[in-house]
């Protein structure tokens, strides 16, 4: 009986042994963790950037996995997967910035900002193209709005960062981009998924819609709270942004689960 139990739950028993060894070590030695000095004042940015990157890569990975598993027929899955991956570059930069890599600081110069933020117009165009591929078979209707969003996004980046003379070009760029492209695109995605979820009585699309809605709200917080004296509140919006990625991931997972149970 005992031998049987050991064989069946070998992994559990091995785990318990390892935990016991670690616990014994901690309780006897009382170890003091090694410091990472550079994170002393940027741990929150590191944590936020790390979690965002993990979630964005998980979403991108899951969408890519589903694209493969569904015989590569649903192109939107691939397009969204690439879009989320590109979008994650901004947050990878946050991790490195928190670790003290000055080149990863998007606020260092307009060039640095462009280098770490070009993914956002690509993401906007990509997610729009993905949804348009579902909604219409007309190639023109798929391409024209998506390309327009991409071009306009890059135009705002170019105008705001390099052409319009301003004391704070990053601010001008963000105001233009967020409130004319990013927020309307997020709302569009939120509405379409929520509408589909409501009509099909499925939870997955509703969650994706909720995620995009929260994403939109979190970016609404940027403009009023990006100023230096209230920037700590911007980080609360960042937390909300992080939260918004969870229903997006969960929603996409549920969509495939609900499909299998139909």
């Amino acid at each position: 009986m005992v031998i049987n139990l050991e064989k069946t739950h070998l992994i559990y028993i091995t785990g318990l042994i390892i935990i016991s060894i670690i616990s014994a070590y901690v309780l006897i030695v009382l170890p003091h963790g090694a410091p990472i000095v550079v994170l002393e004042s940027s741990f929150f940015l590191f944590g936020l950037g790390l979690n965002s990157t993990i979630l964005l890569w998980t979403i991108a990975g899951y969408l890519f996995f589903r694209w493969i598993r569904t015989n590569r027929k649903n192109q939107s899955l691939l397009i969204w997967s690439i879009s989320f991956l590109i979008y994650s570059f901004t947050f990878v930069a946050h991790i490195f910035r928190a670790l003290g890599f000055s080149d990863a600081n998007e606020n260092l110069s307009v060039f640095h900002f462009f280098a770490w933020r070009w993914g956002m117009p690509c993401f906007s165009a990509g997610i729009l193209y993905g949804i348009l591929k579902i909604l219409t078979e007309n190639r023109k209707l798929q391409l024209i709005p998506s390309i327009s969003v991409g071009v306009l996004g890059f135009l705002w980046l170019a105008l705001g960062l390099f052409i319009i003379p301003s004391e704070n070009p990053i601010e001008v760029t963000m105001y233009l981009f967020l409130h004319t492209i990013w927020i309307p695109i997020c709302f569009t995605m939120a509405y379409i998924f929520a509408f589909y979820g409501y009509k099909s009585k499925e939870i997955g699309p509703k969650l994706v819609g909720l995620g995009f809605f929260l994403l939109m709200i979190s970016y609404h917080g940027w403009a009023p709270w990006h100023f230096q004296d209230v920037v700590y509140l911007y980080f609360i919006w960042y937390f909300l942004f992080l939260l918004s990625l969870t229903p997006i991931l969960l929603g996409f997972v549920l969509m495939s689960v609900e499909e299998r149970h139909e």
């Binding site: 649903n74 589909y196 099909s200 499909e259």
Partner: protein, 164 residues
């Protein structure tokens, strides 16, 4: 889409009392009338006519009657529609209008307009009119619901044409 009201004529058997718009083709009407002879455990049921690409959605109900055998008229509201529409779409409206029909006092008289024993009853004509207006209203509601449903189905189909 067509709406029909069937009733069980004590003398001639199942009969289509009302259909809108226009009449129902004989092939289909024979099948619809045949449903009355089935012993259905559920009041709400559907039948698919594969060859005709149609679906018949039915709600069977009864109203009290002083003139019928057993003191009840057996009625059935039937919707004849494209086979792709889900029957649940029509259920609520059919249920609502069956309750409306049940709630009208002496409505059973509407089924005795064609020369039965009580053809001289002064209330028959008004009950026929009342029943017709309820059924026309029901048809309009069904048509509107169907339009909304077609729009809903469109977006569902767009998403469902891909695997997720």
């Amino acid at each position: 889409m067509k709406l029909a009201l069937l009733y069980f004529n004590t003398i001639t058997g199942p009969e289509i009392y009302f259909s809108h718009p226009g009449s129902i083709i004989e092939k289909v009407s024979k099948k619809v009338l045949g449903f009355f002879d089935l012993d259905m455990s559920n009041n709400f049921f559907e039948m698919s006519l594969i060859e005709e690409d149609l679906k018949i959605i039915n709600l069977y109900f009864e109203i009290t009657s002083c003139w019928a055998r057993g003191n009840k008229e057996m009625l059935m509201l039937s919707v004849i529609t494209d086979k792709n529409h889900r029957s649940e779409v029509f259920y609520e409206i059919l249920k609502e209008y069956s309750l409306k029909i049940m709630s009208v006092v002496n409505l059973y008289k509407a089924f005795y307009a064609k020369g039965f024993l009580n053809e001289n009853d002064p209330e028959i004509d008004s009950k026929v009119e009342e029943l017709h207006s309820i059924l026309l209203e029901c048809y309009i509601q069904l048509e509107e619901r169907l339009k909304v449903n077609i729009m809903d189905e469109k977006i569902i189909k767009k998403f469902k044409k891909f695997e997720w």
